[in-house]
């Protein structure tokens, strides 16, 4: 009797502990955020001073640090010490002082309370050498919107100083696996403000952003088989795009966002089809005796790059998007997969197996020159930043799935990881409209 009661108490406590552990597990992914580590930087970083924004104490958190972190993480800016003294946006800078601190560029700003309860964030960007203002903007923002505002300021600074758009305001999606739980998450490009679009006990793979950034297509295994969905991020609604007999996978958006290329096995073998975004109008794209998969449209919509084993080993080919004859694109090595054309269509990123190691490589499509960008062993799923400067990809460190990013020249390197979880299947979203 006594032993029985004790055992029962013990099992109750065990149950409670288990329940608490389960709750903690459930809560974990929502709080867990990608932490970014810079592991390599560009050769010629622009020395930039970002003075503390005056009055940013009005906001729940300051904008200065977000801007500094953005620019530094890009690997293209070197932060110059500002002495932590706030400098109002409308003060005339003493250029000589900034020059002696080694700054080529200077950002100053102010946060002011607006009449309607919102805030005015003003900033100016100066060329210290030429002693001229390069940009000056005012943003009206809610207190909770300080991060998007800071990212927009970073984008302006980046574009004015480098002559190409920044990607700090863009978003990324990725899949987090913790235990048996899979979550499709969306976060700012810096890993901030993560949100879960889909949580499942079955795998989720191959997420890809619609060109307007409003929807994600992905493959979910919740029906014991791969099925392609399109998920609206604004409404949280989703619909099945392809759920034919057999497997349905590898979605890729056409640049106009009306169609998807998908891989279906309904007629035998893994073969490419196109389908309207609402799931109607399925059409066969190509026919081969082997595997055709991983389609991806060229940015001009003319071609579809894909992986095929038709030549005996998996290699990358391309086919006119309207169908026609395929051309082989990769020739070196026995395993080249996952083609991802750059936003300007000039470069192809892909995964190449070299001595048993799966590594991110790029090929110049004009010169056919190939460069392996990483020294890792389990790279997967590359995804270009919308400005084409960086490639985000999945890798593995210490047996755990992490995301990594590398610049096209291989110099700038970042690692994005989540404590105690596997992160995989990254997809970099388009520019915000």
């Amino acid at each position: 009797m006594f032993i029985g009661a004790n055992a029962m108490l013990f099992s109750l406590r065990k149950l409670l502990t288990l329940l608490l552990a389960m709750l903690a597990l459930l809560a974990l992914p929502a709080r867990a955020q990608l932490s970014i580590e810079i592991t390599g930087a560009g050769a010629n970083r622009i020395p930039t001073a970002i003075a503390d924004f005056q009055g940013e104490g009005l906001l729940p958190q300051g904008v200065t640090n977000v801007i500094r972190t953005d620019l530094e993480r890009s690997g293209l800016f070197k932060l110059v010490d500002t002495g932590n003294k706030p400098m109002p946006e409308n003060a005339q800078p003493v250029f000589g002082d900034w020059k002696s601190r080694g700054a080529d560029a200077l950002v100053v700003g102010s946060v002011l309370a607006a009449a309607d309860g919102r805030y005015e964030v003003r900033f100016r960007l100066y060329d210290v050498q030429k002693q001229v203002q390069l940009a000056g903007f005012t943003y009206l923002t809610g207190a909770g919107q300080y991060r998007p505002t800071a990212h927009r300021i970073s984008d302006v600074v980046y574009e004015k100083l480098l002559g190409e758009p920044g990607v700090f305001s863009t978003r990324i999606s990725y899949v987090v696996k913790s235990g048996k739980r899979f979550e499709l998450q969306i976060a700012d490009a810096d890993g901030g403000s993560p949100q879960t679009a889909l949580a499942s006990h079955e795998p989720i793979i191959s997420p890809v952003w619609s060109p307007d950034g409003s929807r994600l297509a992905y493959v979910s295994f919740e029906a014991k088989k791969p099925v392609v969905y399109v998920h609206s991020l604004t409404t949280g609604q989703r619909h099945v795009v392809a759920n034919f007999k057999g497997s349905n996978s590898a979605p890729a958006w056409s640049p106009d966002g009306t169609k998807l290329a998908v891989v279906l096995t309904k007629d035998g073998g893994s073969q490419m089809f196109t389908v309207n975004a609402d799931g109607s109008g399925v059409r066969r794209l190509a026919s081969s005796g082997g595997i055709d998969t991983e389609p991806r449209y060229s940015p001009d919509g003319q071609f579809i790059y894909f992986t095929s084993d038709r030549g005996g080993s998996p290699q990358i080919y391309r086919i006119p998007a309207a169908g026609g004859d395929s051309q082989r694109v990769t020739f070196d090595g026995s395993y080249n997969v996952t083609p991802r054309p750059s936003p300007d269509g000039k470069t192809l990123a892909f995964i190449s197996r070299n001595n048993g190691r799966f590594q991110l490589a790029v090929q110049d499509l004009a010169s056919h020159q190939i460069q392996v960008l990483t020294d890792s062993a389990k790279d997967e799923s590359p995804s270009f930043a919308p400005n084409g400067r960086m490639i985000l990809y999945a890798s593995e460190i210490g047996g755990r799935g992490v995301l990594a990013a590398v610049s096209l020249d291989g110099r700038v390197k970042q690692k994005l990881s989540i404590q105690a979880a596997d992160v995989r299947e990254p997809a970099w979203g388009p520019f915000q409209k």
């Binding site: 795998p203 793979i205 191959s206 295994f221 014991k224 088989k225 057999g246 996978s249 992986t307 995964i351």
Partner: protein, 194 residues
């Protein structure tokens, strides 16, 4: 593509016979396995093991007993996985009796459907591995069709490298992950696969 399976129909009869003996062997645990006949071993010094084989009387097939033949660990049909060599999609000889047994069951139970899930080891691209797993699932589907199973009873899909049986990262783990799993569904019931 079909060349690996050309010889299957020729072997089907032999395979089915092998399965019959296997099932009989299973029904007499501890008993002699070398024959399907009802043999009592009376060698001196050995315990006398009676192995009566009483055919169950059924008035129409009870789905409970069908379920048992699919799920009873002693039934060959409870074995649901076949394994493949690296980069291979050919059903190995050691699994042919199992494939034969499942084909025989499906051919005589039109109400049952099979979902074949192909799998790949973790090396390489997720989508390419999905296609490799599909080749394995398709190979089994093709073999079952050649053994007389109706197309409508079969669906071959792939889980790629997404659902490893063994989470390890060595050849032993990979060998367990290069496989087909067979899931049954009773088409007359709403309940899911088992």
């Amino acid at each position: 593509m079909n060349s690996p399976f050309r010889h299957i129909p020729l072997r089907a009869l032999a395979g089915m016979f092998a399965v019959a003996t296997l099932v009989a062997g299973c029904s007499t645990p501890g008993g002699p396995e070398q024959t399907a006949a009802n043999v009592v071993d009376r060698s001196p010094g050995k315990p006398v093991v009676a192995t009566p084989t009483i055919a169950p009387i059924t008035t129409g097939e009870l789905s409970g007993s069908v379920l048992a033949t699919l799920t009873d660990p002693k039934s060959v049909l409870s074995k649901r996985s076949i394994y493949f060599d690296y980069d291979q999609y050919v059903i190995k000889d050691e699994f042919k009796p199992l494939v034969d047994a499942h084909a025989k069951f499906l051919a005589s139970h039109a109400d049952y459907k099979m979902l074949i899930q192909g799998n790949a080891d973790e090396r390489g691209s997720r989508e390419y591995n999905l296609a490799l797993g599909q080749k394995r699932a398709d190979a089994l589907k093709q073999a079952l069709k050649l053994l007389g199973v109706r197309e409508t009873q079969l669906e071959s899909v792939s889980l790629g490298k997404e659902k490893p049986k063994n989470e390890g990262h060595d050849e032993a783990a990979w060998a367990e992950n290069r496989r087909d799993d067979m899931l049954y569904r009773d088409a007359t019931k709403p309940a899911g696969e088992f």
